[in-house]
């Protein structure tokens, strides 16, 4: 299963689901529900955290959090 942490910059992909974890409800509330189109648009120096475009708004997260988001 691929996660958002493995997706290269500027490659659009879709959320499939979120790994069971404490953060799952929080990530959902931020709009990362299954079917949502996402795209990594920036990486901080040293590659972490990353900034993700979630159809119109930019959310930054650490790679450890991106690894919880399963994508196509």
């Amino acid at each position: 299963m691929k996660t958002l942490a493995q997706i290269p910059m500027h490659q659009k992909t879709k959320v499939l689901g979120i790994v069971e974890s404490e953060l799952k409800p929080k990530l959902l509330e931020m709009g990362l529900y299954p079917g949502k189109e996402v795209e990594v648009i920036f990486k901080a120096p040293f590659g972490d955290p990353i900034a993700v475009d979630i159809s119109g708004y930019t959310l930054s997260m650490r790679l450890s959090e991106a690894a919880l988001i399963e994508v196509e």
Binding site: L23, L28, E29, M30, G31, P45, D48, T58, L59
Partner: protein, 647 residues
């Protein structure tokens, strides 16, 4: 009073709207039982007084942090003293889908509410077209108002709605609130998005526009190399401005308070009360007022960075650097603020959701050199460091000053790392931060922010600094038995009564009195402990005095060495200190003892007001005590090692 609640996601312009509606009629307190800011504003509509409460920005009513708990606690309990009669939910028009999640949750509770579509200007610029009619059909129970908080459109309509009488409350504390288990919340959230998606596709249509301005700017501002360089340049500008520009108003305040005190001296009758006012109360108030320019300037610039959206980028690019030390990107702002004053810095840690990271930031914040250390640094550097040019362009004195600031920053990071090792269970550290689009700052927001921060400093720190300066006055004005009288009579009165001779005589009397006061005895009492650091009892007095507030150091040295007026001319004190000799004939203030004292001031926790704030923010005496302890040990060891090396 009728209460109206303001809810919304972060970055929706909610606080701008709040400021627009209430102006300076605001009050910042805490919600009952928690240290989460409660911003209340008051406004009068058609003769009716209303209280508007600006709640912390949240994405959902399900509580995941202290801030979010506040929202949940208030709206889930109609008996809560802050339970609103009406609610306003502010939505960002460019991001309706995610914003509607919180809105539908509150909508389903059946509270009387207005849906405020904010930032409509940004939305139309970005090609969004919003069909209000469709939105009204989707949420018939809500009043929909379009606003632009930045220029003020829609405000009168909103005010009118706020002023109308509310219908009897149809509280419908639905099953929603009962869903406290995670699985239930996840299912509910998924269901809500299923309901929101078709609404959004009906309401919002979007023309494709070019890559927006923010993304273009970010190519530079969060660039792996330029991002840091730009950030460093901004830091440099901030510190230059804070320290150069602020010195003018600081001089005026200094001159103002001292001339006010001497004027009072001429009109008030001589006596204990006059002395209390002139030597205790006024210097105490002056010691608070003098920091206002620096604090105001620093927060002015930080508020601009925050308002423009740049601060979120700073957090983004520094997160990885801070993580090894048990901190996170959000610790950067509190630590930056601490360079003006640790008190607002510590209060700014409230944005850090992890308690461990927040506590660590609080514990190390006072290590960042604040502006109260600056007078001490300047005096001692002037005293023991020669003013010469090194490496072609750099002034040695300036270099030492820079090194002291650097020592503060480095030690803060190292101590944070040590603290991290003490946490047995590692708390989950979360970093989910929305990056708002860049926008020009709204000056009213900046102004209110600066005003609030200065107010907090003046009232929180000010009270304590004032109380301590009165205690110090007592310790310095009274002594055991009648020693003070006895010894001061031994000072030879001048034979020729010239003005200069009289002043000289008076300052000598003051110096002898201080030596035999309680404070003088305390200085001598601790002398054995501080001798290894290279200090004598006179420095001991100043050290004790500055445990209340560091800036007292210079003033008490001036009294001990009977320098009449340091305000007009710090050189006088410096000249006096330069010629002081120890019993063995070596100068008291040499490179070793001067540097040792400087290092002591970098580390020591000499600020009662900060301790009081730490106690308030951590709700326990444990942490301020830990802080005094570790910083004291660090100061003593650091000063001792420095003295040994340079002796």
């Amino acid at each position: 009073m009728k209460k109206i609640a303001l809810f919304g996601n972060p970055n929706t312009g909610k606080s701008s709207l709040f400021n627009r509606l209430t102006g300076l009629r605001q009050h910042v307190g805490n919600f009952p039982g928690v240290t989460v800011d409660k911003h209340s504003g008051f406004l009068t509509i058609n003769g009716k007084e209303l209280e508007l409460i600006d709640f912390p920005g949240t994405y959902s009513i399900y509580p995941r942090s202290k801030d979010e708990e506040v929202v949940y606690n208030v709206i889930s309990d109609p008996k809560n003293p802050n339970f609103p009669e009406k609610t306003i939910v502010v939505l960002d028009s460019t991001n309706l889908e995610r914003n509607l999640l919180l809105f539908t949750q509150i909508y389903d509770l059946g509270l009387e509410l207005a849906l405020v579509l904010n930032m409509t200007d940004v939305a139309s610029r970005n090609g969004f077209d919003i069909n209000i009619l469709a939105l009204e059909q989707a949420f018939p129970a809500a009043t929909i108002i379009r606003t632009n908080a930045r220029i003020g459109t829609g405000l009168s309509e909103l005010k009118e709605w706020m002023g109308t009488d509310s219908e009897p409350r149809r509280t419908n504390q639905s099953s929603l609130l009962a869903k406290t288990d995670i699985q239930g919340q996840i299912a509910d959230t998924n269901k809500r998005f299923e309901r929101i998606k078709p609404i959004v596709s009906q309401v919002v249509s979007r023309k494709q526009t070019e890559a927006n301005f923010s993304n273009k700017l970010d190519k530079w501002l969060i660039h792996p190399l330029f991002g840091y360089l730009i950030f460093l340049a901004i830091l440099l500008v901030i510190f230059q401005t804070v320290f150069t520009l602020a010195s003018y108003p600081m001089d005026w305040i200094d001159m103002g308070t001292s001339s006010f005190a001497s004027w009072l001296g001429t009109v008030m009758p001589e006596g204990i009360f006059t002395s209390l006012v002139i030597d205790g109360v006024i210097p105490g108030i002056g010691g608070v007022l003098i920091f206002i320019p620096q604090i105001a300037l620093l927060f002015f610039m930080l508020a601009i960075l925050e308002e423009t959206g740049y601060m979120a980028r700073v957090v983004f690019i520094t997160d990885k650097l801070m993580r090894p030390f048990g901190l996170n990107g959000k610790s950067v702002v509190p630590l930056l603020s601490s360079a003006a004053c640790a008190i607002p810095g510590i209060m700014a840690t409230r944005t850090i959701s992890s308690w461990q990271e927040r506590l660590t930031t609080i514990l190390v914040a006072p290590l960042i050199s604040c502006s109260a250390r600056l007078p001490v640094y300047t005096l001692l550097i002037g005293l023991v460091i020669p003013s010469k040019i090194v490496l072609g362009v750099l002034n040695l004195q300036g270099l030492v000053l820079f090194a002291l600031y650097l020592l503060g920053v480095v030690s803060a990071l190292l101590v944070a790392w040590v603290i991290k090792q003490f946490f047995r269970k590692k708390e989950l550290s979360v970093f989910l931060l929305e990056m708002p689009d860049y926008k020009s700052p709204r000056w009213a927001n900046v102004g209110i922010e600066v005003f609030e921060k200065v107010k907090i400093f003046v009232f929180d720190a000010g009270k304590i600094i004032l109380a301590i300066s009165i205690i110090l006055w007592v310790l310095a004005s009274f002594g055991p038995g009648n020693d003070m009288e006895k010894y001061s009579k031994l000072v030879k009165a001048p034979i020729i009564q010239s003005e200069e001779a009289v002043i000289d005589y008076e300052t000598q009397v003051a110096s002898v009195k201080l030596e035999h006061s309680y404070m003088g005895h305390m200085g001598k009492f601790i002398e054995p402990v501080i001798t290894p650091l290279g200090y004598d009892w006179k420095m001991g007095i100043s050290l004790i005095a500055s445990f209340a507030a560091r800036e007292v150091f210079v003033g008490s040295l001036a009294t001990i060495y009977s320098v009449h007026d340091t305000d007009d001319d710090p050189k006088q004190l410096m000249d006096k200190l330069k010629v002081q000799k120890r019993d063995d004939g070596t100068p008291t203030y040499n490179l070793a003892s001067g540097l040792s004292l400087l290092v002591f001031y970098v580390f020591a926790m000499q600020c009662m007001a900060t301790l009081a704030v730490v106690k308030r923010e951590t709700k326990s005496w444990k942490w301020p005590i830990v802080q005094v302890g570790y910083m004291g040990v660090l100061a003593y060891l650091g000063a001792y090692i420095t003295y040994i090396i340079f002796k």
